[in-house]
């Protein structure tokens, strides 16, 4: 591409928000509540059940305002670090217990709906779905307890949820997420497993006892 063509391309691209009639302003939210929320979820692959619990550490929040021809639109962007422990049980195949660290990006609409995206890394330990035998060179058969393998784990997730605090003043969010868990080295290659998560996010405050009123 010639220089003049490149320049024209950059100008057109940078002017796109103007043509679209939108201007974007991002402000750091200093009032952001840094309490650590707790997540608990059902995690499964269609018929194979599992569970997941996680803690989220908020790291930053922004309020984004977009001016458009038809008015002003705003939403919140939140960033978290999350640590989770999960497991699923696939009968006859394996039970997988894993620890995962995730970086989460969440976008919250004023209506209470939010979307999120989270890549993660961790470690997985599988337990084979049946008694495991070994045969010695002398032909003696023995059982191996808790047989299974340890794999490095990577995950990528995308989800949708609703914050009940927005309109209902309830201190929890519900969410659903689709993830792909990738384990390596599985037979010196990879194993990828899609999972679905349905869960609740709440602040530990919810579990605190209410103070008694003493007149």
């Amino acid at each position: 591409m010639r220089y003049s063509q490149k320049l024209l391309f950059v100008i057109v691209l940078s002017a796109f928000p103007i043509f679209a009639g939108a201007q974007k302003q991002t402000v750091i939210d200093t009032t952001f509540n840094r309490t650590t929320p707790l997540k608990a979820a059902y995690l499964g692959s269609i018929i194979y059940p599992g569970a997941k619990i996680a803690l989220e550490w908020p790291t930053a929040a922004y309020v984004v305002t977009k001016s458009k021809r038809h008015g002003v639109k705003s939403y919140r962007k939140e960033k978290y670090l999350a640590a989770s422990m999960g497991m699923y049980y696939h009968e006859d195949f394996h039970t997988n217990v894993f620890l995962l660290a995730e970086r989460q990006w969440r976008r919250l609409r004023p209506s209470g709906w939010f979307t999120e995206f989270a890549p993660g890394m961790g470690i997985s330990r599988t337990f084979l779905g049946g008694t495991t035998y070994r045969v010695s060179n002398a032909g003696v058969v023995s059982k191996k307890p808790l047989a299974g393998y340890t794999y490095a784990l990577a995950s990528i997730s995308s989800g949708l949820g609703y914050d009940f605090k927005k309109l209902w003043s309830k201190p929890f969010k519900v969410y659903s997420r689709v993830s792909i868990l990738i384990m390596v080295p599985y037979n010196s290659y990879i194993y990828a497993r899609p999972t679905v998560e349905l869960g609740i996010i709440t602040k530990p405050l919810l579990f605190k006892k209410k103070a008694k009123y003493i007149p």
Binding site: I47, Y48, Y89, H90, E91, D92, F93, H94, T95, V97, T126, F127, L128, G129, G130, T131, T132, Y133, R134, V135, G139, V141, K143, K144, P145, L146, A147, G148, Y149, P185, Y186, N187, S188, Y189, I190, Y191, A192, R193, P194
Partner: protein, 345 residues
Amino acid sequence: MNKLKSVFTIILMSLLLQCQNEKITISVHTDDTFYVENNGAAMRVSVKGNTESGKIMLIVHGGPGGSSFLYHTKKIQSLLEPCYAVAYWDQRAASASQGTANKATVTLPQFGDDLKSVIQVLKYRYGATTKVYLMSHSWGGMVATQFLTAGTNQELVAGWIFANAVHDWPLNDQNTINMIVSRGSQEIALGRNVAKWQAMIEYAQSLELPISAKQSLKLNDYAWEAMELIEGFTPLNEDDIIEENLISDRIPYTSLFFNLINPVQSHLLREVNEKSFGSLLIKITIPLLVCSGRHDFVCPTATGLDLFTRIGSVDKQNLLFDNSGHNLEEQSEYINAFIEFISMH
């Protein structure tokens, strides 16, 4: 907090131990799954059917990288499993098998050793007097021949079913070439799919033996394509079997997929590309049943016939299935032949 951790750990461990509890069923409706760990691979074995019979047909599946789930068809469930037990074994780095198998351990001699371990575990679980019959299909023929020609291994099995299988890779390639040329010429003479057959014949005739692993793979692709072109014959679709049993057999579909495309499979194909057991077949003396499909271009009837004539066994039978290709399409006829062979031995 520490107490809570300990309770949690104890509950988790007991749950996991519960999942790996030994379950050995001697019944007409056995449905047991266990694993055999050998040199870095944990191989799934599922035993279904009548273990009271004292006879088990052990499936040595095709591939490499195939799956034993593909053999759990409705016909095998309704015809064979009520009479005898069937052991569905997933080979290393294939199907639902897990672990750390790698290039160094995905070798044909290792597959032979794995098969020996699986038979030893079957006899440990279901009784030392249990009779085991190998049913090798396609690539499984190489694995079974490797096992049977080593040491005194053949003493562990009561019979061998060689169904649309291979024991000599270069010979099988030659037989596929010959079949493409001869059947292709007949089809062209009849004016059927002329352009497609011509392309296949041209490729087959351009090959000079010994062919490379890459050429062998392409020839294999043409062999599958050729079966699709035979008029009045519909090859058995393996995807239909998976789809049918996905939930009931608890098939880990993505494990099947990733093991199938695992690069160790191509490494293995390169290793066996010039492998022939022809001269060793005389060592095998156990009862043998050879089954071939007339439309099988992948493992042509000539391959089965070569094994039949060169093997040391005296008790042997060769059957040709007129309207079958590679995937045992005449299921009832094949299975009835298996039942008859097992009942007689």
